[in-house]
C-alpha cells in the first residue's frame, strides 16, 4: 500500500508537470486570461498536492491517512478484475465488428457462465431475451440506432 501511494503521488506529479508545459501552446497575448490559464492553474495545484503527498510519504505520515475501506487486492481479486475488464473490452470490440445484437447474445451468455450459472439453456434464453428486448426498444420505441457493426448489419 505504501509503495502504491508513492507511485500514485508520482503519477499525479508527472501528470501535473505534463499539463502545465503542454498547456503553454494555448497561451495567447490577446486575452487577459488565455485558454492556457485554467489548465495551468489546475496543473499547478496538482503539482502542489502531489508534492505534499510525496513529502508526507517520506516523513511516513500518511500511514493512518491512506487505509482504504475496501478489502486489499490479492492475486485472485486482480484476476477477477482483469477477467471482467477483458470481457467488457471484448464486448466493445465485438460491437464494433458484429453489432449490438450478436455481441450482446454472446456477451451475456458467456458472462453468465463465467459468473457461475451452469444452466446453458437458461443462459442462452436469457441472452436472447435481453438482446432482442433492448434492440426492439431502441428500434421501435426510442427510434435510435444501436451499433450495427462493420462486418454485419442488423
Amino acid at each position: 500500500m505504501k509503495t502504491l501511494n508513492l507511485i500514485d503521488a508520482l503519477l499525479y506529479l508527472i501528470l501535473g508537470i505534463f499539463i502545465f508545459f503542454y498547456a503553454r501552446i494555448y497561451s495567447s497575448d490577446h486575452y487577459t486570461t488565455s485558454p492556457a490559464f485554467f489548465p495551468q492553474m489546475i496543473a499547478t495545484l496538482m503539482i502542489i498536492f502531489s508534492s505534499i503527498r510525496l513529502v508526507l510519504w517520506f516523513l511516513n505520515a500518511s500511514q493512518v491517512d491512506d487505509a482504504s475501506g475496501a478489502a486489499p487486492m490479492n492475486g485472485a481479486r486482480y484476476r477477477s478484475f482483469l477477467v471482467i475488464v477483458a470481457c467488457l473490452a471484448g464486448y466493445f470490440v465485438c460491437n464494433l465488428l458484429a453489432g449490438f445484437l450478436i455481441s450482446t447474445i454472446l456477451f451475456v451468455t458467456f458472462l453468465m457462465r463465467l459468473l457461475g450459472n451452469r444452466n446453458y439453456l437458461q443462459n442462452v434464453l436469457f441472452a436472447l431475451l435481453i438482446s432482442f428486448g433492448i434492440s426492439a426498444i431502441f428500434k421501435w420505441v426510442l427510434v435510435l440506432p444501436l451499433p450495427s457493426g462493420s462486418l454485419l448489419y442488423f
Binding site: Y26, L45, A67, S68, G69, V108, L115
Partner: protein, 502 residues
C-alpha cells in the same frame, strides 16, 4: 410563484401518458435503488439515455421519478437483506433489518415508504415555493458571484473527501481537468484533443458517470461474486401498514427529519447519507424509545428515510436556480436538462417557465406515486432484491454500455465509460472519493468562464473577486470551509494516531 401556471402544470402532469411515465420511472427507480450496489447516481446515469428521446418535460419528469424512486429503493435492500441498496439507506438498515429479523419486514417497509413519501412531498413543496425567489436573487449575480458560488460548491466537496483530504482535492482536480478537454469556452478553440476529432465535443458527463458509478461497481461486484461473498436470503413481507398508535409515534420524527433533509439538500455537496444519519441521530436524541434504537425502533426507520428523501427537493433548488448541483444525482439530472438544450440557472426561470412549473408539479406527483407504488408493489420489490448476481450483472453491464452509448450514439463514449470505470475502481480501492469528480465536471466550465470574465473586468487583478459583497462573502465562506476542514481532519487524524499507538 405563479399559482395559475402551477395549476395548469398539474393538469398537464395528470394526463394519462405523463402519469404512466412517472409510474414506470418510479418503479424502475425503486428496483434499481433496491438492488444492492446500484446507487441513485447509477440509476439516473443509466436511464438518462432512455429518456433522451422523450419531449423535454416527459424526459425530465421520468428522471425525477427515477431519482425519487431510487432514493427510497435503497431502503428495501437495507430492510430485507441488511445491505444498504444505496449508501443513504445505511441508517435505515440499523433498525429496519432488526425489524425484519423479528418478522416485521412488512411494517418496516411500510414505514420507510410512508416516511419517504411524506418527506419527498414536503421537500418538493419547499422547492416549489423557494426556487422562484432564489432565482430572482441570483439574477443579480455577475461573474464574480458565480465564480464565488462555484468555488464555494467545490470547497464543500471536501466534505465528500473520505479519509484523505489530499486525495479529495486530487479527485476535484481530475474532474476539473476533464472539463479542459475539447472546445474551450473563451475563444472557441480546442484544447488537449491530441488530434482526435472525437475529443472535440469534450468528455461527456453521462459516460463519465456510467464509468465511475456503473462499471466500477460491476468490477467490485464481480470480485465479490467470484469470491463467494455476496449471499442473499429471502424475507417474507406481510402487514405493511403501521397502526394508528405507531403512526402517531413516528409523525414528529418524520416532520423533523423532512426539515433536516430539505435543509441539508440545499447545501451543495452534502448528500442524503449525511441527512439520514443526522435525522436518525436527532430522532434517537429526542425519542422516549431511544434505548431501542438499533434494535428495531420504528422511529429510527422513519427518521432516516425521511432524512434522505427530504434531500431530493432541497438538492434541486441550487441545481435549478443557480446551475450548481447539490450532489452527484442532481449533477446527472442537470446533464439531462442540458441534453435538451436548456441552460439551467436563473435564466431558466425567466425563459422557460413552461418547463419549470411542470417540473415542480411532476416532482410532487412523483413522490405521491412513490408512496403508492412502494406500498402496492412491496412484495414484488422483496423478490427483486433477491435476484441472483450472476443474472443481474450481465444486464447491468449491457445497460451501462447502452447508457454510455445512447446519449451521443458514440462508441467513443463507451470507450470513455470503460476507461472511467477502471479509474473509478482504482479510486474506490485507493480511498479517492468519486462524487467530486462528477460535480467538478459540471462546475468546471462555470468556474473557468466566470473566472476569466471577472479577471477581464478587473484587468487581470485578483482583487476583483472581493469587489462585490456577495462574491467576497462566498469566497470567504469557501476559504473558511477549507481551513475548518483541514483543522478538523488533522484533529481526527491525531486522535486516530493516538488511539492506534495507545
Amino acid at each position: 410563484m405563479d399559482l395559475s401556471l402551477l395549476f395548469h402544470s398539474f393538469l398537464l402532469i395528470l394526463e394519462p401518458t405523463n402519469l404512466l411515465i412517472i409510474g414506470l420511472s418510479v418503479t424502475m427507480g425503486i428496483i434499481i435503488g433496491a438492488l444492492p450496489g446500484l446507487t441513485v447516481v447509477m440509476a439516473c446515469a443509466l436511464l438518462v439515455p432512455l429518456t433522451y428521446g422523450f419531449p423535454t418535460i416527459q424526459s425530465f419528469i421520468s428522471l425525477l421519478g427515477i431519482y425519487c424512486g431510487a432514493v427510497y429503493g435503497g431502503s428495501v435492500a437495507a430492510i430485507l437483506l441488511g445491505i444498504p441498496g444505496t449508501p443513504a439507506a445505511a441508517a435505515t438498515m440499523l433498525d429496519g433489518f432488526a425489524l425484519s429479523n423479528r418478522g416485521e419486514a412488512g411494517k418496516a417497509l411500510g414505514i420507510a415508504c410512508i416516511a419517504s413519501c411524506c418527506a419527498g412531498i414536503f421537500s418538493a413543496i419547499v422547492m416549489t415555493c423557494l426556487s422562484p425567489q432564489v432565482a430572482k436573487i441570483s439574477l443579480l449575480f455577475g461573474p464574480v458571484e458565480y465564480f464565488g458560488l462555484a468555488f464555494f460548491a467545490l470547497s464543500i466537496l471536501i466534505l465528500l473527501s473520505g479519509r484523505s483530504l489530499l486525495k479529495g482535492f486530487t479527485a476535484i482536480l481530475v474532474g476539473l481537468l476533464c472539463t479542459t478537454i475539447g472546445v474551450e469556452p473563451l475563444t472557441g478553440g480546442t484544447r488537449f484533443i491530441f488530434g482526435s476529432e472525437a475529443l472535440i465535443p469534450g468528455i461527456g458527463l453521462i459516460p463519465v458517470a456510467v464509468g465511475l458509478f456503473g462499471f466500477s461497481q460491476v468490477f467490485e461486484d464481480v470480485i465479490s461474486l467470484r469470491e463467494g461473498t455476496s449471499e442473499r436470503k429471502r424475507q417474507k413481507v406481510k402487514n405493511l401498514m403501521p397502526n394508528r398508535a405507531e403512526l402517531k409515534r413516528i409523525a414528529p420524527h418524520i416532520a423533523k427529519s423532512s426539515l433536516i433533509g430539505t435543509f441539508i439538500g440545499v447545501i451543495p455537496g452534502i448528500g442524503p447519507e449525511t441527512a439520514s444519519f443526522i435525522g436518525y441521530a436527532e430522532a434517537k436524541r429526542s425519542s422516549r424509545n431511544s434505548l431501542n434504537f438499533g434494535k428495531g425502533a420504528i422511529e429510527g426507520v422513519a427518521a432516516s428515510e425521511a432524512g434522505n428523501n427530504g434531500v431530493t427537493g432541497g438538492a434541486m433548488i441550487p441545481m435549478l436556480t443557480l446551475g450548481v448541483p447539490g450532489d452527484a444525482p442532481t449533477a446527472i439530472l442537470l446533464g439531462g436538462l442540458m441534453l435538451h438544450g436548456l441552460t439551467v440557472g436563473p435564466m431558466l426561470f425567466r425563459d422557460n417557465l413552461d418547463i419549470v412549473y411542470p417540473i415542480f408539479a411532476g416532482f410532487i406527483v412523483a413522490n405521491v406515486f412513490m408512496g403508492i407504488i412502494g406500498l402496492i408493489l412491496a412484495r414484488f420489490f422483496a423478490k427483486v432484491v433477491s435476484i441472483r448476481q450472476e443474472i443481474l450483472l450481465p444486464i447491468i453491464c449491457v445497460f451501462c454500455f447502452i447508457g454510455a452509448y445512447a446519449t451521443r450514439l458514440s462508441m467513443f463514449d463507451v470507450g470513455i465509460a470503460l476507461v472511467f470505470g477502471v479509474i473509478g475502481f482504482y479510486f474506490n480501492r485507493n480511498d479517492y472519493p468519486i462524487s467530486p469528480v462528477l460535480v467538478a465536471i459540471i462546475l468546471g466550465p462555470m468556474l473557468e468562464m466566470n473566472m476569466a470574465n471577472a479577471l477581464n473586468i478587473g484587468d487581470g487583478s485578483f482583487a476583483v473577486f472581493f469587489s462585490t459583497p456577495a462574491g467576497a462573502f462566498l469566497i470567504g465562506l469557501a476559504v473558511l470551509n477549507i481551513i475548518f476542514s483541514l483543522i478538523k481532519r488533522s484533529r481526527n487524524q491525531k486522535q486516530t494516531f493516538d488511539n492506534a499507538t495507545g
